[in-house]
């Protein structure tokens, strides 16, 4: 490729992960060119729920580290980013789920995270809008919410970052070809285009998990924490069929953002009415008063899921010069800061802040690609 060197690093994709990577690299003094086609992806569609998940030690380490980054960023985030450290309540509907909550508390506490087991009465006092017969909840105090599209703009506002609207149609090591025929080169290319990465890098084992969300009109605030049913973990990990779980998030506007659903294999952006209704049924089951509120919008998005549920962060094993930061499934907004630090540390030959092995792309790309 006869390419013009335009920067030290080209980041393809200006979602939250690409933006965080660009920022982390720029802070190390590198000149970064960000290319994005403005089609919008999971960053625009997601709930912006910042939460610690602990299905395995790697996920817990990355999400807990990232949450700390978010809390460090918080004082500097502009108002439009709508950051709130409102905490998550994991709702236990029965004794079995309360036991799950207790086990989760154990794991999070061991990791040094702020969490508290609420009994039925304490839960009612914390969130009176919830149905009265719940057994309790685990409160994770460090969790929060954010409006990710505006965080992207904040992250990219850096003297070493240039952002340009361009569609990349081909990757060639540390160079890219654009739809208008131009070729740009750099010391490295970071691919951070989520589920759309398959078009440029077909060997990536990413599958779309479609989600649908609904937002209500503005109402006087009655819910303070993000409310998630403990069954969420079960539902999110279901291997094939569509699933729904109660996830209710109070926005600073007074609106309620309601999720969540998972559908495998669909790339249709349209709203699946049946699944939407089932998702809302879960939410109304936990907060009966929701039934009378007005919904004003629904939308969908695609999570980019890797086979083992962990993102791919690091060098592409068979394409020298190409680095990957993708495959975050539902945790891209939460783990963008940690993902960016892991990627930048590897790219700059620094000691990473966390063990990097669980996230290395080579675990999922063992054989040489045909290309």
């Amino acid at each position: 490729m006869n390419a013009r060197r335009c920067a030290d690093v080209i980041v393809v994709g200006a979602g939250i992960v690409g933006a965080a990577c660009a920022r982390a690299l720029a802070q190390r003094g590198l000149e970064v060119q960000v290319l994005d086609d403005y089609r919008g992806g999971a960053t625009a569609a997601g709930m912006g729920h910042l939460l610690v998940l602990d299905d395995n030690p790697a996920e817990l380490a990355l999400s807990a580290y990232s949450l700390q980054c978010w809390r460090d960023w918080a004082p500097r985030l502009p108002a439009g980013c709508a950051y709130r450290n409102n905490g998550t309540l994991w709702l236990a509907a029965d004794a079995e789920e309360l036991a799950l909550a207790a086990a989760k508390q154990q794991r999070l506490s061991t990791h040094g995270l702020d969490c508290e087991l609420l009994g039925a009465a304490a839960l009612r006092a914390a969130e009176p809008a919830l149905r009265a017969d719940l057994h309790g909840a685990l409160k994770v105090g460090g969790d929060g919410i954010v409006y990710a599209p505006n965080v992207v703009d904040w992250l990219l506002a850096h003297e070493h970052i240039r952002r340009c609207r361009a569609q990349v149609v081909e990757l060639d090591g540390a160079a890219v070809r654009l739809a208008d025929g131009r070729r740009l080169a750099a010391g490295a290319v970071v691919l951070a285009t989520g589920i759309d990465a398959g078009a440029l890098c077909p060997e990536l084992p990413l599958t779309p998990k479609k989600g649908q969300l609904l937002i209500t009109d503005r109402y006087p605030r009655e819910i303070r924490h993000t409310l998630v049913e403990l069954g969420y973990v079960k539902s999110a990990h279901q291997a094939t069929g569509p699933s729904v779980a109660c996830n209710i998030q109070p926005r600073p506007t007074g609106q309620l953002l309601i999720g969540s659903s998972r559908q495998f294999g669909s790339r249709d952006p349209g709203i699946d009415g049946t699944l939407l209704a089932r998702m809302l049924k879960r939410a109304v089951h936990y907060v009966p008063g929701l039934a009378t509120l007005n919904a004003i919008r629904c939308w969908s998005g695609l999570r980019a899921a890797s086979p083992d549920g962990q993102p791919l962060l690091g060098p592409h094993p068979h394409r020298p010069g190409l680095w990957l930061a993708l495959g975050h499934e539902g945790l891209g907004i939460t783990t963008a800061p940690g993902s960016a630090e892991l990627l930048a540390a590897q790219l700059c030959d620094e000691r990473p802040p966390l063990p990097v092995a669980p996230f290395l792309p080579q675990r999922l790309l063992p054989e040489a690609a045909d290309a």
Partner: protein
């Protein structure tokens, strides 16, 4: 609850009423849906201060006499439900309606363009002021300025005067020469001669448009450009009619093709989707005479009475020429796209000023960055304004098409719940 009909008609304005009456003789079971409390649409909006035209009263009486037409007033279409189904909501409940054929008579809404001061109390759309007058708004003795483009301004002025307002100015943006040509052609259409005479109204000015609404807490006056001059008039009300935007959201969701920002139809008023017809302002603005004819044609076609539908084609053609004359005579001056100042609100739901939108790549990017269009009006007002201001494309509509109770959306789950364990 779920009900099934041979034919569903969305919208009970002139086109919808006329479609229902044309189709009714076939004996088909017909549902006529409208989100207003009574049939009539925007042009025949009923209310305490209203004396409807004889034609409107006659059509409403005929409609009431049809045993096979069920009229559902104050009923909104919330979403599509299955391949031939609609999710509806009224004051009491959400329910589903299945249809074999569908006629879209969803009408049009006013195009509201932002200019400094347009959000002051006392400023409204021209159609909006008419609706307020029909609803009983007292304007007796108030000074009113009407600005914008098209015959709606004259109709609005007539309504305001009937209610005792003093119309200070009717500011039409089209040039005098264009207006003269339009007026000279009016006698070609029955009943339109009077309109040409109204252009002699002493308050009427061509080549004039609003620059700003003036006032602190509420409207105190208006600044206009009249030809080459800037004039200021004191007034209590300003009504602006910049034109109409076809309501195409449901049609788009169904997959119907659009043409010139309206639903595309063929000679039978059939859309690109099998079994779905459209008539009236949602297929392009042309006035109530055209809407009535299109409605009849759609109604006949939808019950396979093709000869009766075809018999109306020549009349429709005549009124289509009138619509075309309207379109060319009252095309918006590009200057109207540049009235807003940096701090002029474009999105009233979310308080988004012009400066927060300008410079974005498109509607989606602007919306994500500024929250424009994320409010309860779902971008109906600011989205149409942004298309005019910036030339951005129309986003694909998503349910709910109108704000709807969550309880209503629960009706979308039509599959049997798995049986519970004993």
């Amino acid at each position: 609850m779920k009900r099934a009909y041979d034919l569903a008609i969305i919208g009970a304005g002139p086109a919808g009423i006329s479609a229902a009456l044309a189709a009714a003789a076939s004996g088909a079971r017909i549902a006529l849906l409208d989100d207003n409390p009574v049939a009539g649409g925007q042009i025949w909006r009923d209310g305490p201060q209203v004396r409807l035209p004889a034609l409107a009263r006659r059509l409403r009486a005929e409609l009431a006499a049809q045993a096979n037409v069920d009229c559902f007033a104050a009923t909104r279409v919330v979403a599509l439900a299955g391949p031939r189904g609609l999710l509806l909501e009224d004051e009491q409940r959400g329910w589903r309606l299945d249809y074999a054929r569908l006629i879209l008579c969803t009408g049009a809404r006013e195009l509201l363009l932002p200019f400094p001061g347009w959000t002051l109390p006392g400023v409204s759309g021209a159609g909006g002021l008419q609706a307020l007058l029909h609803g009983g708004l007292p304007v007796h003795g108030e000074r009113v300025v009407i600005a914008g483009s098209g015959p709606l301004l004259l109709a609005c002025a007539a309504s305001a005067r009937r209610h005792g307002a003093r119309v200070q100015r009717i500011a039409e943006q089209a040039a005098w020469s264009t207006l003269a040509r339009f007026a000279a052609g009016l006698p070609r259409w029955p009943g339109k001669l009077w309109q040409s005479l109204r252009l002699l109204d002493p308050a009427y000015r061509g080549a004039s448009h609003v620059i700003a609404a003036l006032g602190r807490e509420r409207l105190e006056g208006v600044r206009l450009r009249q030809g080459g001059q800037i004039v200021e008039l004191e007034c209590e009300r300003l009504a602006c009619g910049f034109g109409l935007v076809a309501n195409t959201e449901i049609a788009q969701a169904l997959g119907c093709a659009l043409r010139d920002d309206a639903i595309a139809v063929n000679d039978w008023q059939a859309t690109a989707c099998d079994g779905i017809y459209a008539a009236g302002e949602c297929t392009g603005c042309g006035g109530s005479e055209l809407a009535l004819l299109e409605g009849s044609i759609a109604g006949y076609a939808a019950v396979d009475e093709h000869a009766r539908a075809q018999a109306l084609w020549p009349q429709r053609q005549r009124w289509q020429r009138f619509a075309e004359a309207l379109r060319t005579s009252f095309a918006l001056d590009p200057a109207l796209r540049h009235l807003a100042a940096a701090d002029t609100l474009v999105c009233r739901c979310e308080d988004v000023p012009y400066a927060a939108l300008a410079g974005h790549a498109g509607w989606h990017a602007a919306k994500l960055a500024s929250r424009c269009g994320m409010g309860a009006c779902q971008g109906r007002v600011c989205g149409a304004a942004a298309r005019t201001l910036f030339g951005w494309s129309r986003p694909a509509p998503r349910p709910p098409f109108t704000p709807a109770r969550i309880a209503t959306l629960l009706e979308l789950d039509d599959e049997q719940e798995p049986p519970c364990a004993p």
